[in-house]
């Protein structure tokens, strides 16, 4: 079985490039068994969305709404 270190590495890489068929199979098998890595994968998307919102000035809008 893939280690969590390798599984998170593949999850990270999948944000830059398409994984090979073999990598996808191994990752899917790992994620079925591992809640930690499954959460990690969800968190990567949240982090990406947050970074884009930040670049688009969402933090300044949040500031204005409250002040």
């Amino acid at each position: 079985m893939l280690s969590c270190n390798d599984a998170t590495r593949l999850l990270s890489e999948s944000q830059e490039q398409r994984l090979s068929f073999r990598e996808r199979m191994r990752l899917t098998a790992h994620l079925m068994m591992c809640s930690g890595c499954k959460n990690f994968g969800k968190h990567l998307h949240v982090v990406r969305e947050a970074a884009r919102a930040y670049a688009a000035g969402e933090d300044e809008r949040a500031d204005r709404e409250l002040s």
Binding site: S3, C4, N5, D6, T8, R9, S12, E13, Q15, E16, Q17, C34, S35, G36, C37, N39, F40, K42, H43, L44, V46, V47, R48, E49, A50, A51, R52, A53, Y54, A55, A56, G57, E58, D59, A62, D63, E65, L66
Partner: protein, 209 residues
């Protein structure tokens, strides 16, 4: 690498990108964020961004279209930032490398000898992630976590996620290999994710996972 669609109207499309007010405004905002986090000083950041944009206006023929302008401007900005950092004490550089070493050790400590999550480090479910963007406190945490990354990790992460450059563009701009890029992004994400979880998403009512 060249973009065939943009080929015919080279001169007009480059000046069109520079005259697109909202686009330049967005670009400027992204650049200021990037530079401020890199330099830790808003005035230096402002200066570096000003110079990079001035360079773009001077060399309007060097790129075609919006995406190319963005890549081009960030490559210049990255050099300006490197110049400013180089002019500072050498101790800054030494401490940055030290930080990178320490941070790599911290990342290694997330996993046991077999490479599986240590129990205390296993990622948990996050509360209301879509609510966070509306909370100004969240953005303070987000900035603090970004600033806590070693400079090179932060640089690569921001070029990828804030500026949305492609992996190839980042490798070209920083002169690093694809392997290096993947390792750096993996570490930066592990660390940033952990910081956000500890300081925001799992703050109250930690759930057993």
């Amino acid at each position: 690498m060249s973009n065939p669609e943009a080929e015919p109207a080279a001169a007009s499309s480059s000046s069109a990108a520079l005259q697109d007010g909202p686009f330049i405004e967005d670009l400027r905002r992204q650049m200021i964020k990037f530079a401020t986090l890199q330099l830790g000083n808003p005035h230096w950041a402002e200066d570096a961004v000003q110079e990079a944009l001035a360079g773009a206006y001077k060399n309007a023929g060097a790129f075609r279209g919006h995406a190319a302008l963005k890549t081009w401007v960030f490559a210049i900005l990255k050099n300006k930032i490197a110049d400013v950092l180089r002019q500072r004490e050498r101790t800054v550089e030494v401490s940055a490398l030290l930080r990178e070493d320490e941070s790599a050790d911290e990342i290694a400590a997330l996993f046991d000898e077999r490479g599986f999550w240590r129990a205390a480090e296993r990622p948990v479910g996050w509360r209301d992630p879509e609510q966070a963007v509306h909370d100004r406190q969240f953005w303070r945490v987000f900035e603090t976590c970004l600033e806590a990354l070693p400079p090179q990790w932060a640089r690569v992460f921001m070029m990828r996620e804030l500026i949305e450059l492609t992996a190839d563009e980042i490798c070209d701009a920083l002169g690093i290999t694809a392997g290096n890029l993947h390792v750096t992004l993996h570490r930066a994400r592990l660390r940033l994710r952990r910081c956000l979880e500890r300081n925001w998403f799992a703050e109250e009512g930690k759930r057993p996972c």
